[in-house]
Every structure is written in structure tokens, then in C-alpha cells.
């Protein structure tokens, strides 16, 4: 059962991810991104696309150094908005795939045309 502390954890991860401070990396699953933290923890954020838009599930997981899941937050949590968790996934994806730097590079190329 998710607690208020879990929500605070989610909000902190969201804030730090938006600020680009969490080293998200792509994995073998194109819809899953992972980040090690402080040499002790691992974060993962994933998107599972269901039959429809409303069935799409986003899940943020925190694991300890023994790979045990400590907590997991999904978009079905009553105190976490779908918009926020989708934003977390999207921000993590952009960081992991270095999207902003690549777009800057494309913009540079476009300016030369």
C-alpha cells in the first residue's frame, strides 16, 4: 500500500528528473528506463501500453542494492496524477535518449540550410 512518503518520493524523483539530475539510461526494453542512485538504489520507470489510452500503465519502482523492490508507484495511485507520472516517463525518456542535445544538433543543421 502506497503511503504519503511514497508520494513525496515520487514528487522528488519528478522534480529531479525535470531538472535533469537523475542519470536515466535506456535498457533492453524500449519502454523501460533505469537509473542507479547513490550506489545503493535503482530507479526504473516504465510504460506498458494497453488496449486503449486509458489502459496505459506507468510505473516508477525503487529497488535496493539487493534488487528487492522497496516501493512502486503507478498512475492508479489516488494521490499521483496521470499527467505527472506520464511527464516523469517522458522526461526520463528524453534524458536517457539525450533527446534535447540531439534536437539542438538537428536545429543547428537546419539553420545551415
Amino acid at each position: 500500500m502506497a503511503t504519503d512518503k511514497d508520494v513525496r518520493f515520487f514528487e522528488e524523483v519528478l522534480t529531479k528528473t525535470r531538472a535533469g539530475k537523475i542519470p536515466w539510461e535506456p535498457t533492453a526494453n524500449p519502454s523501460l528506463f533505469a537509473a542507479p542512485l547513490a550506489g545503493k538504489f535503482t530507479l526504473t520507470i516504465s510504460e506498458s501500453i494497453g488496449d486503449s489510452y486509458t489502459n496505459t500503465e506507468y510505473e516508477l519502482i525503487l529497488k535496493d542494492s539487493d534488487a528487492r523492490q522497496l516501493t512502486g508507484i503507478t498512475n492508479f495511485h489516488p494521490n499521483v496524477s496521470v499527467v505527472d507520472i506520464r511527464d516523469l516517463y517522458e522526461s526520463a525518456r528524453r534524458k536517457a535518449l539525450n533527446v534535447d542535445a540531439k534536437i539542438d544538433s538537428v536545429l543547428g543543421e537546419l539553420e545551415k540550410l
Binding site: N29, P36, D66
Partner: protein
């Protein structure tokens, strides 16, 4: 002179005792420092050997995935996942935060590789999924290779300081 020695033998013996005690302390300190350096060097070498072995296994995974041998790749991935967990626990007190993060990242990559490989044949994967799988395998190999390099460098620096 003999008279002086006869009257002060106790004081002289005390001074000599003090000098010998100081020398013994000095030598034992040096011996303890050398023993610690030797132990650190051996541990670093052991870690280096383990990272070298992990790099070889990671390279095998890259090869098996490249030639669509999911069964062989899965065996090696399972083995390396176990070893990564062992390395994280075994070297927890001796590694930098960067190295610990690297090992955690490698284990997470291996977990995701394992999940993808258990879902079906590599040849059945969509091109995007196949590319992600290959890049993830390559990332694991790069991580262990980096850690091997760091361990070798550390051992060399220790050797230079020791000489």
C-alpha cells in the same frame, strides 16, 4: 668511565630500552602499513580479475545476441546477473559511488535483457526492440570493461606509490 657506568647502569638501561621500544614501534608500524598495502593491492587485483572475467562474459552475450542465440545468451545473462549481485555485495565497502552505480546499472540492464530474451526468439523482435537489446548488451560490456580499467589503473597507481 667504568665508575660512571657502574653508578648509572639503571638509567642507561632505561634509555636503551626506550630507544629499542621506539624502534620496535617504528618497525611494527612500517610492517603494518606494508601489510595493509599488500592486502589492498591483492583485493584490487582480485576485483580487477573479476571485472575482466565479467567483461569476457558480457562480450559473449553480445556475440550470442548478434547471432540470434537467445538460449546461450540467456545462460550467460543469468550467470552475470548472479555475479553482478555478488560483486555489489562483496565490494560494497571498497568501491567508489561511481563504481557501485555502474554495477547497479549493469545488473538492471541484465535484468531487462533477461526479460526481453525470455519473451521469445531474437529474430521475432521488432527492429526497434532488437536494436535496444543489442545496445543494452553493449552497455553491460562497456560498464564491466570500464570497471576493469579502473581496477587496473588503481593497482598501477598503488604499485607506483609502493615503489
Amino acid at each position: 668511565m667504568l665508575d660512571y657506568l657502574t653508578h648509572n647502569w639503571g638509567n642507561l638501561a632505561s634509555v636503551a630500552g626506550l630507544v629499542f621500544s621506539f624502534l620496535a614501534f617504528l618497525f611494527s608500524k612500517r610492517a603494518s602499513t606494508s601489510a595493509r598495502q599488500a592486502r589492498d593491492h591483492t583485493l584490487r587485483q582480485t576485483f580487477g580479475e573479476e571485472m575482466n572475467s565479467a567483461t569476457k562474459t558480457a562480450r559473449e552475450i553480445v556475440t550470442h545476441v548478434t547471432i540470434d542465440r537467445a538460449d546461450m545468451a540467456l545462460l550467460r545473462v543469468g550467470e552475470l546477473m548472479d555475479r553482478a549481485s555478488y560483486y555489489i555485495a562483496r565490494w560494497d565497502n571498497r568501491l567508489s559511488e561511481r563504481s557501485k552505480n555502474n554495477l547497479l546499472a549493469a545488473r538492471e540492464q541484465l535484468t531487462s535483457i533477461h526479460d526481453v530474451l525470455t519473451k521469445g526468439a531474437i529474430s521475432d523482435l521488432a527492429p526497434r526492440d532488437k536494436r535496444s537489446l543489442a545496445q543494452s548488451c553493449q552497455r553491460v560490456s562497456a560498464i564491466f570493461s570500464e570497471e576493469y580499467g579502473t581496477a587496473v589503473k588503481g593497482a598501477e597507481i598503488e604499485e607506483q606509490h609502493g615503489n
